[in-house]
């Protein structure tokens, strides 16, 4: 159902709650690209958490602090680390993507993580690779724009 309220500061709220609970994660997808400076829009936050039960339990604590309503089955799914968990029972939408398309290893992705925005964000090259691998019409529309952004972003970092 359509939402009554929406806060654009959702990434900041996730980052604060996840930090308080020591969740190991990165922002990915278009929400990650937006934090890096990509001039696009999205409505949800996509995060790539490390897949293990302890990290899953920390995510549950963080989401409860953010006022997400989690039923016991959903909590089990998060602790198990189901590959894709989409939650819309809180103040904003969040996708927990434990196995993003086109990304083989959490540790490798983390070693290339971009923290220049003050947030843990998947490297722009990995965001693009993941979009390409997802292979949806919406990704085909976004890819040329993301690649143009990458060009500008990387030139700017060199300066």
């Amino acid at each position: 159902m359509p939402r009554d309220q929406f806060s654009p500061a959702q990434a900041q709220e996730v980052a604060a709650a996840f930090a308080a609970h020591q969740v190991d994660y990165m922002f990915i997808g278009k929400s990650g690209a937006i934090l890096l400076g990509y001039p696009g829009t999205t409505q949800d936050v996509d995060v790539y958490p490390r897949k293990d039960p302890e990290n899953g339990a920390r995510i549950i604590g963080a989401l409860k602090d953010l006022s997400f309503k989690l039923d016991p089955t959903l909590e089990d799914e998060i602790v198990q680390g189901k590959d894709f968990v989409q939650i819309k029972s809180g103040p904003f939408d969040i996708d927990l993507v434990f196995a993003p398309d086109g990304i083989d290893s959490y540790a490798e992705a983390k070693s290339r993580m971009d923290t220049s925005s003050g947030f843990p964000v998947l490297n722009i090259q990995d965001i693009i690779a993941s979009k390409r691998s997802a292979g949806r019409p919406r990704d085909a529309v976004e890819l040329p724009l993301l690649e143009a952004f990458q060009e500008v972003y990387e030139k700017r970092k060199i300066r």
Binding site: M1, P2, R3, F6, P8, A9, Q10, A11, Q12, S31, I34, L35, G37, Y38, P39, G40, T41, T42, Q43, V45, K69, L70, L74, E77, K82, D83, F84, V85, Q86, I87, K88, S89, F92, D93, V97, A99, P100, D101, S117, G118, F119, R132, A134, G135, R136, P137, R138, D139, A140, V141, L143, P144, L145, A148, F149, E151, V152, Y153, R156
Partner: protein, 79 residues
């Protein structure tokens, strides 16, 4: 997409990179109701492929989660 359109977009990227992260969030996160997708409190999938399949089979085509057409495939496959 024409190159001159991308040049405009590159300039837009330059301008957006000059914004604070708070402003990037203010302009970047906005709510648009998506039918079906937004109509359940949560859902989970054993694999990302299973999620993609669910999207293809259940979401309205105009949301862009379906099968890419020939031109879209060409863009997606151009590494």
């Amino acid at each position: 997409m024409k190159d001159d359109d991308l040049e405009d977009f590159r300039q837009q990227c330059e301008r957006n990179l000059q914004r604070s992260v708070a402003d990037r969030m203010r302009y970047g996160f906005c709510y648009v109701y998506k039918p079906v997708l937004d109509d359940a409190p949560w859902r989970s999938f054993d694999s990302t492929a299973a999620y993609r399949k669910w999207c293809r089979e259940n979401l309205p085509e105009y949301l862009g989660y379906g099968e890419p057409d020939a031109l879209q495939k060409e863009i997606l496959n151009a590494a």
